[in-house]
């Protein structure tokens, strides 16, 4: 049996192809990371290694304030999206009512319509009810576009849900609330968490909707960066971007870890 080959052997040319794909995806990011440590102010040649831009960045009060805003908006809007989205998905799963299909597909509209249109619609809505743009409008706007993602992920989780498991809990003496806390919620939690992660990342890097719905005091980090790059990409923007990349990776890894744990248990 000399000629026996392993199935799915990784051939050299597929390896090469994979490298190209990853290069294409990650090279720009590496460039940003590299230049954030560059002593030169111009992003063309690498002159020397320094942490200078990181210190500068932390000293920049405006930058830090917008960073704080971003964190607050992302956290608060994610919490609301998760709660509303999960309840919405549960309601759509549990109850039969008229126009259910229409209502459930209308949830996806914020996802499919162009973000710009959606942002302008929000702006017009807020001004027409005489609400001036602030942190509150910003959070509401973020909830509207990230909530549908929670609904989608939780519904996906519920799709394979065996109703008799909830019935078993009722049968064993748990009332509706206890059944939800002890059975339903733990079982849909992987969906809730991935929905929450989606909402969080969407909120963290949103530019278009935030641009129209943020008040003067509630500028977020992406908006601030956008303002800064108008005058050219400075090394402190690189430093900031690098930190954000690492932040995202950390969030991603923790959520994968938590989900892996949760799903392994089932």
């Amino acid at each position: 049996m000399k000629k026996r080959r392993k199935v799915r052997e990784f051939k050299p040319y597929s390896m090469f192809y994979a490298c190209l794909v990853y290069l294409f995806l990650y090279l720009p990011i590496f460039v940003v990371i590299a230049f954030s440590f560059n002593t030169s102010k111009i992003n063309i040649t690498f002159e020397g290694f320094t942490f200078e831009w990181y210190w500068k960045m932390f000293e920049n009060r405006q930058l830090m304030q917008s960073f704080g805003n971003t964190v607050i908006v992302a956290a608060v809007s994610t919490v609301f999206s998760v709660i509303i989205g999960t309840l919405c998905a549960l309601g759509l799963y549990k109850f039969e009512f008229k126009l259910k299909n229409l209502i459930s597909s209308s949830l996806y509209i914020p996802i499919v319509i162009p973000e710009l249109v959606f942002a302008i619609a929000l702006l017009i809505f807020f001004t027409s009810i005489h609400v001036s743009m602030s942190m509150v409008t910003l959070i509401i706007a973020h909830v509207t576009f990230s909530m549908p993602f929670v609904v989608i992920t939780v519904r996906a989780r519920l799709a394979g849900f065996d109703k008799s498991i909830e019935e078993a809990a009722r049968d064993l003496g748990a009332n509706e609330f206890r059944t939800f806390m002890r059975v339903t919620l733990p079982m849909i939690s992987p969906g809730v968490i991935s929905g929450g992660m989606l909402a969080l990342t969407m909120s963290l890097d949103d530019v278009v909707v935030s641009f129209f719905t943020a008040g003067p005091e509630s500028t977020t980090l992406p908006l601030k960066i956008l303002g800064m790059v108008r005058k050219g990409v400075s090394p402190d923007v690189n430093a900031l971007s690098t930190l954000m990349i690492f932040g995202t990776i950390v969030i991603l890894l923790t959520s994968t870890l938590i989900q892996g744990r949760l799903e392994k248990r089932m």
Binding site: S164, E167, A168, D171, L172, G173, R182
Partner: protein, 382 residues
């Protein structure tokens, strides 16, 4: 209503259940006594699960009442009823290990920790799952999951345990073993079991009483012996064990026997209480159907041997009557066979025949009920 010494623990009175416009359970009246093993038996879709779910509280009767321990439970939710269910697909909590699954009900009842520990361990021993406390349901075999499901229900010491085809997913051998274990558990704990199955053998071997359902109607309730030897309806005769069902009308009556004329001949039966020229069904079990090449007194009933089939210790013979109907006869395997193609005399011991009136008079004597099922052919009704 029932003044018997046994205590009625579950009572269904005139229970009807409609889904949309479909009537799935019809005028169900059933008393179940404390400590009894009652089986709901019937073909797929006849309303067994629905009946069980109404007792558990997952569905509510459209009409009629359900009493648990003498109390109308119409306003009681599943968690407020002293019954527990073993679900057909087990419905274990996938995110909890065996111990937590079994402890679920006790935790809800706020039983003290040490007592939970003690009772769960006791249960685990009882269902022979020692050492598996920490396993997750996904890491267990069908039979093991089934034991967890039973333990999870029994640990609450319910008055009534509802089991919906609990052995349905198991292979034959395990099934047989679990049947024995379940019956043993039920005896040992003295809990009332309401058991759903569509396996008649399972029903006959395990039950104290069997309730046979068909199309939402309760056809007959009785001990395994009663429903097997004295089926009240053609459906029951046919469903429980095998039966030859032959239509005939009463030609002549003497003091202790009736002469019956059938499409394919004449025969005698030992029955009383019928009218001359009444149309009846004769129900003869294959083991009671005899064949002979010589004429038999009182019988003029002939058919042609069509086929022999060996099934282990018995031999099954198919006989075709002149009108095309096939009869089944069973003989011990060591008996000599009548060659295929031979025309034989078919006969029986007149006392071994169960006689049933036709449906109009006996089976659905409530007119209202037969109206319900118009639009079906007679075959569907039976």
């Amino acid at each position: 209503m029932n003044q018997a010494s046994e205590k009625v623990i579950v009572r269904l009175t005139n229970v009807d259940k409609n889904f949309d416009s479909e009537r799935v359970v019809k005028k169900l009246n059933l008393d179940i006594e404390e400590g009894e093993f009652l089986t709901l038996l019937g073909p797929s879709g006849c309303g067994k699960t629905t009946t069980l779910r109404m007792i558990a509280g997952f569905e509510y009767p459209t009409e009629g009442q359900i009493f648990l321990e003498g109390e109308d439970v119409d306003d009681k939710k599943p968690n407020e009823r002293n019954v527990n269910t073993v679900f057909q697909n087990y419905a274990l909590f996938p995110h909890m290990n065996v111990f937590d699954n079994i402890a679920f009900g006790l935790v809800e009842k706020k039983v003290k920790k040490e007592e939970i520990q003690r009772r769960v361990e006791e249960m685990i021993k009882l269902v022979q799952l020692d050492g598996m406390e920490k396993r997750m349901p996904s890491q267990m075999s069908g039979g093991q999951k089934q034991r967890v499901a039973i333990a999870r229900a029994l640990v609450n010491r319910p008055k009534v345990l509802l089991l919906d085809e609990p052995l349905g997913a198991l292979d034959l051998k395990l099934r047989k073993q679990m049947q024995g274990e379940l019956k043993h558990l039920q005896r040992q704990l003295g809990i009332t079991f309401i058991y759903v199955t569509h396996d008649q053998e399972e029903a006959l071997t395990m039950s104290d009483r069997i309730a046979i359902m068909n199309h939402g109607y309760l056809e007959q309730v009785g001990t395994p012996e009663e429903v097997y030897n004295h089926p009240k309806t053609k459906f029951v005769a046919d469903f429980i064990g095998e039966s030859n069902i032959i239509e005939g009308y009463i030609e002549n009556m003497t003091d202790n026997s009736i002469e019956v004329t059938m499409e394919s001949g004449k025969a005698v039966i030992a029955e009383k209480g019928y009218r001359l020229e009444e149309i009846i069904y004769l129900c003869v079990r294959p083991e009671n159907l005899k064949l002979s090449t010589d004429p038999v007194k009182g019988f003029r009933f002939r058919g042609q041997v069509r086929e022999h089939v060996f099934i282990g210790s018995i031999n099954k013979t198919m006989i075709e009557l002149p009108n095309g109907q096939m009869l089944k006869a069973e003989t011990p395997a060591e008996d000599e066979l009548i060659p295929v193609g031979t025309v034989v005399n078919v006969y029986w011991n007149p006392g071994k025949v169960v006689v049933m009136r036709t449906k109009e008079e006996q089976i659905y004597n409530v007119i209202e009920q037969s109206v319900e099922i118009e639009g079906m052919t007679n075959d569907q009704i039976f």
